[in-house]
């Protein structure tokens, strides 16, 4: 019994010794922090519509509508055979460079260009049936230092450079 009590006492002393030798003090340092976060959507979707109604004289009234979400620069071109087509731009917002007609203003989302009137000169036109095919290209406006960059539309830049 005496040995048992001595073991009990030794165990208690050992427990106390372990507590005081293994539980060390902790050091705390002053610090502070603050978080913030934000996000913004990127709209790149481009949708355009070429409206090219044909009147009774087979002339085409071409406008381009920006039905997407971002500002665009646009150009159009008509394909046909022979020399029987005349372009008219009453509002003076289109300009011709080579085979392409460029709209000189940035076309904002929801806007349409002014009309580019493609008229068939009947006296020059051949007697066989013919068609005028209008194609359009558009590219999203990209800015650099507040200006539209050449990269915004490589085709536009190249054609301008060729025209110089």
């Amino acid at each position: 019994m005496r040995n048992k009590n001595i073991k009990l006492l030794a165990a208690c002393l050992l427990a106390v010794a372990i507590i005081f030798t293994t539980v060390k003090g902790t050091l705390a340092y002053f610090s502070d922090y603050e978080n913030a976060a934000g996000k913004k959507p990127v709209h790149l979707y481009i949708e355009t519509r070429i409206d090219e109604p044909v009147d009774t004289n087979d002339n085409k009234h071409v406008t381009i509508a920006n039905t997407g979400e971002t500002p665009l620069i646009v150009r159009v071109r008509a394909f046909y055979k022979g020399d029987f087509v005349k372009y008219t731009d009453e509002e003076g917002k289109w300009t011709q460079l080579g085979d392409w007609w460029y709209y000189t203003e940035v076309l904002q989302a929801g806007e349409s260009t002014s009309e580019l009137f493609i008229e068939i000169i009947k006296e020059n036109a051949p007697e066989f049936n013919f068609d005028i095919v209008v194609i359009e290209e558009s590219e999203r406006v990209v800015y650099k230092d507040g200006k539209i960059t050449p990269k915004a539309a490589d085709w536009l830049y190249k054609d301008y450079k060729e025209a110089e």
Binding site: V16, S31, D32, K39, I46, T67, V141
Partner: protein, 239 residues
């Protein structure tokens, strides 16, 4: 036998109590009451300093949100996004800023689009040329960590870490195009890979005390390879 056992247990308890008191530094001293003339009461106060760092966006304190002044963002166009910090306490502190930039979808789920196309710049200069220095050892494509080179004195504002944000126009290089005919109209659609996704910017400013700054940095910032020269009060990155 029973009395022996009880006395032994009492002895053990007494010994343990004595050990605890001694090791805890408790001293038992004699107390004595005596009449004595009252003396004036002197009181001393020690005020513990505290750190208080504030993040600034366009030199205004943020309320937890960033990109507050940004309405729309067009590719290739730089927008003002000035991020700096202010020490609002009266003691000097060392500061670092952790920046995260990434893309997410509408449901705020992160996507694997390229974070490098979200460009943060400081007037076109390299970060090493100004007040902040990047620790590239802590960098990933999404996460960048910048340290203020010098200690930030109390009640002062740091220089900007960066001042513009831009989306690289390379995001426009990937798209699919479709064309449909409807009567006298032709509809053309360009669907870009990055369309409809969100740019995300997160920032966390963390400051530490100037006393024992090296230990504080290791404790708070972790093992970053950053050391602090307490003599010159500057942060050394990768040296």
């Amino acid at each position: 036998m029973k009395n022996n056992k009880t006395s032994l247990l009492l002895s053990i308890v007494a010994v343990l109590a004595l050990i605890v008191m001694v090791m805890s530094g408790v001293q038992i001293i004699n107390t004595r009451a005596a009449l004595s003339p009252a003396t004036a009461v002197y009181r001393g106060e020690i005020e513990l300093g505290h750190l208080d760092v504030t993040m600034l966006e366009n030199h205004k304190p943020v309320d937890g949100t960033l990109l507050n002044d940004l309405k729309d963002i067009d590719p290739g166009k730089e927008y003002k996004e000035e991020i700096s910090v202010r020490n609002d306490s009266d003691v000097d502190e060392y500061v670092r800023l952790v920046i995260r930039k990434y893309w997410s979808d509408k449901s705020e789920k992160r996507v694997t689009l390229d974070p490098e196309l979200i460009v943060l710049s400081y007037s076109g200069k390299d970060y090493n040329d100004n007040a902040w220095v990047e620790n590239k050892a802590e960098a990933t494509t999404e996460r960048k960590v910048y340290y203020l080179r010098k200690i930030l004195p109390g009640e002062t504002e740091s220089e900007d870490l960066f001042d513009t944000i831009m989306i690289n126009d390379e995001i426009m290089d990937k798209y699919e195009i479709t064309t449909t005919k409807e009567g006298n109209s032709t509809i053309t659609r360009l669907v870009y890979e990055y369309d409809g996704y969100y740019i995300n910017l997160e920032a966390e400013v963390q400051s530490i005390q100037q006393a024992e700054a090296d230990s504080a940095a290791a404790s708070v910032w972790g093992n970053t390879g950053v050391s602090i020269d307490t003599a010159s009060k500057t942060v050394k990155v990768g040296e």
